[in-house]
Symmetry: C2
Subunit: 154 residues, 2 copies
DNA sequence: CTAAGCGCTGGAGTCCACTCCAGCGCAACT
DNA sequence: AGTTGCGCTGGAGTGGACTCCAGCGCTTAG
């Protein structure tokens, strides 16, 4: 058989052995078989399943939700529900990516700003940008930059 | 002067008041002024800074690293270093986004799979996909996809 | 047969990033 | 003047997700 041991799965996925065992205890990996001696044996299907769980976790689905997902059986009556849950999560991932992209431009703007200041050999004074944690008098005002209303996430 | 109080900053950014105070204690927000009574006053620049920190945190930069970033002064000699740090982080964000996109396709593939099974009214058998977390019991010559009753016994 | 390893289990410990008080002071309506 | 309420501080508590044992049992190489 091409079933593999826990060490191999760890190597294949990058999840630690402890994490794999912990996921199983927590009910995220229900289809791991054992060999007579009691050791875990991961069938190719089980390995694929580990990868799905890994994808869900890595994309921010809480362990609790993965468990709930896993626990609804594989029977016909659940396929729709499962698909819906995954779809919901997929949308969450997309929103997350969009947020990261917005944050990325904030960071890149900052980089550009620094590069410019570095070139000109200026401290940032009127633009602020960063603190000097010394005492500082108040700067004259400057206007607001438009912000996207964001809600705390992740 | 259009400086604002902590409540407003909380509303503007979505960060909780406690979090704002905690960030400050932890050295992530060095430029917050106080009014005579001791209350925090956030200048527009300070608010912008909060937004930068928020972007860094939301994109996964550990608090420790944000602090390190913040602590290197705003002097000329540091602009290059700061920019380099940010650049490094920007690349990390890009890698993260790429990973999310890969994981997203994993999830979407799974959705497609479920939709298909749902349409055909099939349980997943030869593809497995999900567990049978029944009692392990005795399966002498159990092999790979040997989907033993994958019915959930809820 | 013995020893070295890997794996197993249950449980404790750790880390991170907040979040939640308790107790107090200023502020400002009425 | 009173009282209602926001804000402040220091510190304790929480939740999530692992990570790290200790102690034991197969398995296998010598």
């Amino acid at each position: 058989m091409d079933a593999v041991g826990i060490r191999k799965v760890s190597e294949l996925t990058g999840l630690s052995i402890d994490t794999l065992r912990w996921y199983e205890r927590e009910g995220l990996l229900p289809l791991v078989e054992r060999e007579p001696g009691g050791r875990r044996r991961y069938s190719p299907a089980a390995v694929r399943f580990v990868r799905l769980v890994q994808a869900l976790r890595r994309t921010g689905m809480p362990v609790q939700d993965v468990r709930a997902f896993v626990r609804m059986g594989s029977g016909v009556e659940w396929h729709g529900r499962r698909a819906a849950l995954l779809e919901e999560h997929a949308e969450a991932i997309e929103r997350h990516i969009a947020q990261l992209q917005r944050d990325l431009t904030v960071v890149r703007d900052k980089i550009a700003h620094h590069r410019e200041l570095a070139e000109r050999g200026l401290d940032c004074e009127d633009e602020i940008d960063l603190a000097e944690h010394g005492s500082r008098a108040k700067s004259p005002d400057d206007s607001e930059a438009g912000g996207t209303g964001d809600t705390t996430e992740e």
